[in-house]
Symmetry: C2
Subunit: 363 residues, 2 copies
């Protein structure tokens, strides 16, 4: 049923193409658009890692979690006949695609309504809970901290792209009504474009699924098959010698430790504070291992932090964190070891130059 | 760069996952989101088949041509600051996803405006060409006939999903400003979700690409790699013993010939008329080989044709062809040989019953 494997091996390729139309068709396992076996693996992984309660949720597959951003807002917005418009918000600094997607699709049922701060204040006033859809990225991109919804009574979408033990401690399984995950940040298979939503309410899940079917008629079954193999490999190695999370945590911790050591010598730049925390997956206090460093320039004259660092050939990501002060910028730590080593070298030079200058000044 | 092939074979799977993050990332060939080699194959195939002028067009990949429906309407609609709204239309009977997608996304920049008939009449009046976006499916789904835009001066989107020599004669290469294609109907790989648009105007292509990036961050690179292998196989066999189009044409012609022979004995049901036509690809007059039969119930009392056939256990697709008379219904011929044989058997019984009854009546 699912991705006729003999296609490329079969001598009479063309015969397979046409006679196999019905069997290849749009379906995966048992005539469904989603592989049942892959769903099972996803539930097993959440259970084993302890990062989300999946067993009482619907799973909807998508072409990356990107696709689910607008799909979920569509599903959580009022019906097109109601005449009301949902307000979509997030807390600064937030992942820019929430805003850019809502603006691009420009639907009559919802609109981008900016930072949560004004909505958190307004709650209890004219704002009702149906009015607000809040994106909460936890751990957050860019600052890597765990977050909770701040608008009381909003429909919250918990984007847990980074909520895996290589990037954060897992204090307890997340049990939000709507959660997002992606292989992009689980195993690094960003280009495979595979994400999934865990959704408590069946009607919401159905609306998300309707959207995905209308938008792309599901997620590629080639991708689903590849993801199945990847999930099985990850599952087979949990807590073993080849545990992806233990390995990932080691790699990311080493990067953070080195970066922190260099930056701690500086008074010109600083990093977000992430304390060591108890992690249920590793069953121990673990060192921080964020995907991103959220750098602050401390000097008054360094108001454009990204530009200050760029002059020292340190490339960061700025300008996309709407409403966030330009005094902050993001350094990505999910890059190759070579690129990280070069980054560390340049930051070391930047800090050394600061200390040398400070030394000269104090003479 | 493109889909680290050693992932599943490598003993230290987890090591690959994390250290390979940067290389796997989101990119395909040369840091681009689209495989340059696959683009080349698509251009070669259009040139070799002679169904579209691709060389002066931009190619945008998508998760099936489904995704391109709304992406193209977005790209061809007025800017969100202009205050005007595009009217999206198609000629009855048309593929239902044009309407359902426009209704679902419910954008402020465009709206579904129904059948072309009222717009064709209105042209020259208050309607300006910027106002209308016309979907033209050619060959059409459901009636399998070649079509041209009918609203003068509209932005036309030529959906050429079925414009391949196994389904239709190719009179000349299509050279429309905006064209859609999909592997779903080229080779039957519907579940791979791969489609592409050929677009003349660079600005329109850029807007479509922006949409695809925002919506799903491109098409799955696993899928792109698989499609590359499939295109290479198809290209290597053109006009040879394993030519997909010659094989497909033989299979589809045989089905149409058998179905036509049975239905021609009936006065209760009829099929659309498709004459044999000269095809530039085969360089000969070819027999018809449509993907769908568009069945008409001729008796006045058979106003719900689908229901009439369902009573004879013949499953057709109806109810989705907005504004089309329920006197018509669609039979799919792109099914397995077993399913087709069963279909033919039941239609034969249906026609035999009609003739037996007619014989009794005339006694």
């Amino acid at each position: 049923m699912f991705l006729e494997p003999y296609w490329m091996r079969h001598a009479e390729a063309s015969a397979v193409v046409v006679s196999g139309w019905h069997r290849m068709s749009y379906r995966a396992t048992d005539g469904l658009f989603q592989s049942v076996e892959l769903e099972r693996c996803i539930r097993r992984l959440h259970r084993a890692v302890g990062n989300a309660v999946a067993d009482d949720k619907q799973i909807v597959f998508a072409t990356g979690s990107m696709q689910l951003i607008n799909a979920l807002v569509y599903a959580l917005s009022p019906d097109s006949n109601s005449g009301s418009t949902a307000n979509v918000v997030a807390t600064t600094p937030y992942y820019p695609a929430y805003r850019t997607q809502i603006v691009l699709f420009d639907s009559r049922e919802y609109k981008w309504a900016g930072n949560t701060s004004m909505w958190a204040k307004a709650s209890g006033n004219s704002t009702t809970k149906e009015d607000v859809i809040e994106f909460v990225t936890s751990p957050n991109n860019p600052d890597a901290l765990l977050h909770q919804p701040v608008v009381v009574g909003s429909s919250a979408i918990l984007d847990h792209a980074y909520f895996w033990p290589h990037f954060t401690h897992i204090p307890a399984p997340s049990d939000a009504d709507v959660m997002l995950f992606t292989t992009s940040k689980l195993s690094g298979h960003a280009s495979s474009r595979f994400g999934w939503a865990l959704i408590r309410d069946e009607k919401v899940a159905k609306r998300v699924n309707d959207y995905i079917m209308q938008n792309t008629m599901g997620a590629s079954r080639d991708t689903q098959l590849r993801m199945l193999a990847i999930f099985k490999t990850i599952l087979a190695n949990l807590h073993g010698k080849e545990d992806i999370f233990a390995f990932g945590h080691d790699v990311m911790t080493a990067k953070w430790r080195k970066l922190s050591a260099v930056v701690s010598r500086s008074r010109r730049i600083s990093l977000q504070n992430i304390p060591p925390q108890y992690c249920t997956y590793f069953d121990k206090i673990r060192e921080p291992s964020p995907a991103y460093a959220w750098v602050k320039c401390e000097r008054e004259e360094d108001s454009d932090c990204s530009d200050v660092l760029l002059k020292a050939k340190i490339i960061t990501r700025s300008g996309v964190w709407n409403d966030a002060s330009s005094r902050y910028t993001r350094i990505s730590l999910i890059k190759s070891q070579d690129d990280f080593d070069l980054l560390l070298e340049r930051i070391t030079e930047f800090v050394d130059a600061e200390l040398t200058a400070a030394g000269s000044n104090s003479m």
